[in-house]
Symmetry: C2
Subunit: 317 residues, 2 copies
Amino acid sequence: MPDSVVLAVDFGGTKVEAALVRPDGTLVVGSRLRAATGRSAELHDLEASVAEVVRHALGMLGELGSEARLIGVGIGCAGPIDREAGAISPLNVPSWRGYPMRALVERIVADAGHRVPVVLEMDGVAIVLAEHWVGAAQGAQNVMGMVVSTGVGGGIIAGGKVVVGKTGNAGHIGHVDVAGFEGENTFGNAHVLEAIASGPHTVAYARRNGFAGTTGEDLAAAYAAGDPVARAAIERCGRAVGQAIASATALLDLEVVAIGGGFSQATPDLFDFIRAQIATHHFDYVRKVRVVPSGLSGEGPLIGAAALIYRADLIPA
Amino acid sequence: MPDSVVLAVDFGGTKVEAALVRPDGTLVVGSRLRAATGRSAELHDLEASVAEVVRHALGMLGELGSEARLIGVGIGCAGPIDREAGAISPLNVPSWRGYPMRALVERIVADAGHRVPVVLEMDGVAIVLAEHWVGAAQGAQNVMGMVVSTGVGGGIIAGGKVVVGKTGNAGHIGHVDVAGFEGENTFGNAHVLEAIASGPHTVAYARRNGFAGTTGEDLAAAYAAGDPVARAAIERCGRAVGQAIASATALLDLEVVAIGGGFSQATPDLFDFIRAQIATHHFDYVRKVRVVPSGLSGEGPLIGAAALIYRADLIPA
């Protein structure tokens, strides 16, 4: 199907994006659009944002020539989700609790005249599929894809198949206990990775220790300039991420963990801090896990959403 | 194959056992034998113990009539293991590091005149298969089988298939971080579930708080008699187990966790402590995980070892 395309939708805590994605994992130029979501968004605004980006992408189908054919829609969403119902309750978007996201997109796509499968999974599932398909985890059978950003999330491939779990929520690495840190309980559980090592929580830790900046970018700049508090904060983030990866690897015997997300790019040294922590683990098989930067560009979440259709063979029913 | 049997071998930190197991998951009467292993055992003694229990079980084949046929050998072993090499390095048996256990059993079985497949997996894999086959997790597709005893271990079924991981070591729930406790670093990693909540570590915690007994049985008796230190120790164990199950469920979206092992039977209240901890979790899908006592008798590890052959369809290549 050389002219087939997939409509990819990525719904996150701060934005929703859509694009058309080709079978080789590239985006159709001009099809990508984003709109804001966020903690203060109202239900109606969110629906309008989704409709806007989806309609924009579908509008590009006509530009692809008469042979172009939409074969499916993949939606990656911030968790938790209810996979069977196609409903989402993103931590960061309080006004959507059990919102029927799949039905909304189905309706918009049907109104545009398309009758195709619409698949909804957690964004972490999309990410790990993208790493496996065209990113840093190609060829590996036991993989975690991770995002360290405003939140900390992920997805898992075990034995060559995506782990979705009973309700579609497997992959929440940000909600795994990490020992020996003081976390902040802003999004649910304290003492879990996200409450310690997300971008905002790492900045908050630095601020408690005298840092004057307010963003992850500020912290990255201070780190680059040799600021000792920034260094302590980013080292702490790396230790916590390393411990969580060690726990996940003890449990899943992973081969490779690919990490993306804005805050993961604060400094390449972050990966050294993560690896140094994992190197202290007692088990040989845990110490051997490879921790690498994501092989995806900023298009990763959309490529992953498209992979929900193109790589559907890796997803259990 | 009504008269087919499997030779099951369970190699643990304190003992090795073997038996013949029928296709319905029952043991052939008289075929079961155990011998000691343990921290002080020498290489030669360990090999002799394995040979003794294996030969005893094989010796019962003749009693089953001329139709009886050995169709395979399943070996469950304390981890870590090297699945591809069939080699084991049990934490509790320091004299075996990278020991070629599968080859040893293959040789003993071949010397007795049998040419059959010999499969070696971690004991946690055997346990979760047994719970799924004839125990407390029948019909579930996302399961953890756990043992809380001298050590803390487990195995995982995700999407209806066993998770083995890259080297065969998936399932080490005892080596997952648990926040907010002081662990003891006796078998590797501090701050992990096993270092906090195993039987011996729970007894050690009670002793640090004035308890005079020395065994898990002592602690169970003191708990039953209303001793407040024993209660605090077992409640602490339950909280730690609950946190680790919450982490594993956040990551794997499990449906049911079945817990066996001697110390898990210290008091039925232990399960209430575990469930009370999980009930504090922020995520609905985590709070919904069912935590139940193992549905297996003391024969569970042997039934699970036999399941490595009988339920081989659940194990990825």
